[in-house]
């Protein structure tokens, strides 16, 4: 199923925008909260727990966020595929 070139590049640009936005979050929770700003965040304690916030991001929080990020990407891309008629069931 040949796609007009312009449509294909619009699809690709949207894909790149999603990837860019999700990678910003990926960077912020791991390198940002878990490493670069860990000392500042460690002054805050997660209420009701013994976790300093930065330490929590480094050992637990960033991993939870990673999982959620991938599933958000899957949802976004499945929707995008359908919107552009590029999903594989249609081909």
């Amino acid at each position: 199923m040949p796609q007009p070139k312009r449509r294909q590049s619009a699809y690709w640009r949207r894909n790149l925008r999603y990837v860019g936005a999700l990678l910003v979050v990926w960077f912020a929770v791991s390198y940002g909260a878990g490493i670069l700003f860990v000392e500042q965040l460690d002054r805050i304690r997660i209420p009701g727990t013994g976790f300093p916030l930065g330490f929590w991001f480094a050992q637990q929080g960033s991993i939870y966020v990673f999982v959620v990020l991938i599933f958000i990407y899957v949802r976004l891309m499945n929707r995008l595929d359908r919107e552009f008629g590029l999903d594989e069931d249609g081909s």
Partner: protein
Amino acid sequence: MNVQAWTFTLVALSFALYIGVAILSRAGSTRDFYVASGGVPPLANGMATAADWMSAASFISMAGLIAFRGYDGSVFLMGWTGGYVLLALLLAPYLRKFGAYTVPDFVGDRYYSQTARIVAVVCAVFISFTYVAGQMRGVGIVFSRFLEVPVHVGVMIGMGIVFFYAVLGGMKGITYTQVAQYCVLIFAYLVPAIFLSLLIAGKAIPQLGFGGVDQASGTFLLERLDGLHAELGFAAYTSGVKSTIDVLAITAALMVGTAGLPHVIIRFYTVPRVRDARASVGWALLFIALLYTTAPAVAAFARTNLLNTVSGRPYAEVPEWFTTWESTGLIAYEDHNGDGHIQFVGPDATDPAGEPVRNELTIDQDIMVLANPEIARLPNWVVGLVAAGGLAAALSTAAGLLLVVSSAVSHDLLKRALRPTISERGELIAARVAAGAAVIVAGYLGIDPPGFVAEVVAFAFGLAASSFFPILLLGIFSRRMNREGAIAGMVSGITFTAAYIVYFKFVNPAANVPENWWFGVSPEGIGALGMLVNFGVALVVSALTPPPPAHVGALVDSIRVPSGAGPAHEISA
């Protein structure tokens, strides 16, 4: 039943399960052998990937590493999971659309060059062998402790099992065996963790118990741990001692290395559609996260337990697990001051008079997970279960790596480079012979590891980060990237990284101190710089050399859209 009987029973049962699964799902064609006919559902593929990925190091060593390093151990947690985000967003869907059998396949076709293919084969085989030797060693150690056989006999039993399902079943057999292995290993990991969490923090979920209240002292567990550390002269558990730049570099090297490891990448060729490739990375990470968010909790529990049970106690009163592990040489006690008590203290410890105190206890960090059930006095069957789980983790990773080696030889070297006319049957036989030979080499490396193997295992990631990741990424996201750039990038990246590691680890280990490191980056984190070298060289060289031919532009366009993926390996036939 005693520990030994339970271990025997549970290990034998789990092995029977793996072999049964392997027989039921053996490969009949090369497509079965390399990519399980591309028919694996995403959920099952996610589980198989999780087992494939989580090695003896994740199962046995990681919690111990974290227990001894505290915050600094976070590099493994973030590094080994964050790479999956890169895989899902930047590589897996496109590589699935491309539809090759192996990583060198993609490199060779995208960069229209046999040289690039061969360079990729060499990198893949090198990375896989350094990694697999450590796995076989892990198998040997678990057997020797729990079944009380010599390490080399343990390795040979492991070789026999892997030989059976990797050689017979190929990717198809491995995939379903790995699903079973995931179930065994996660169950084995969670059961003692839940017991410990209940015992120490009174919560059934270890991830919550980790932040909960220590039942013995009534303060938060992490505060108690920081307090104990301060008392004994260790750096605070929640803050760590490594420099920020090194923590950044190691995390980056592990993340990017994960996304570039060939045995993980090929798993995404085995699902039917591009959207399944995306989803299956998500499932894989979810299944991995189950273990990876438990590990730091286990680490904190184990650390607290250890400090409470041995520190400052008279040696004559140590619990039974202490003497058991002492006999394996993995725990050692030396009474420096002759008072009969165990001084387990950090480098800054002083006695009440202000005199420095020497540490008298050495503990191999690998025993933390294996000894945990005994430390916490859990039932015997839990000890046996942990042994079965450790073996599942080591065997599943070993099998996945051996498949990379065998397909690199039979498919990339033989079929695509040396003898393109080989028949399907001939290629399948070659693949099995190569898998068999790889098992034997891996077993040899496990029984008689040349001194450097254990050292190099962690660096397999640095090598993968500095060789594969950049050129795979550029191959998808840059239409201009050409053959010359890719080859120069791979060669310079892996050479730079390997040279730095070899210099500091083998040529001049005495110089391996932060003052001598480039930009303060340790050999563990150098893969991050190697990756930048690869990117830089690839971009400059490709800008100075002719652009790729037109059909490559069309290929890049086609992998960017999901529709019409077709079964694996149609495009490059």
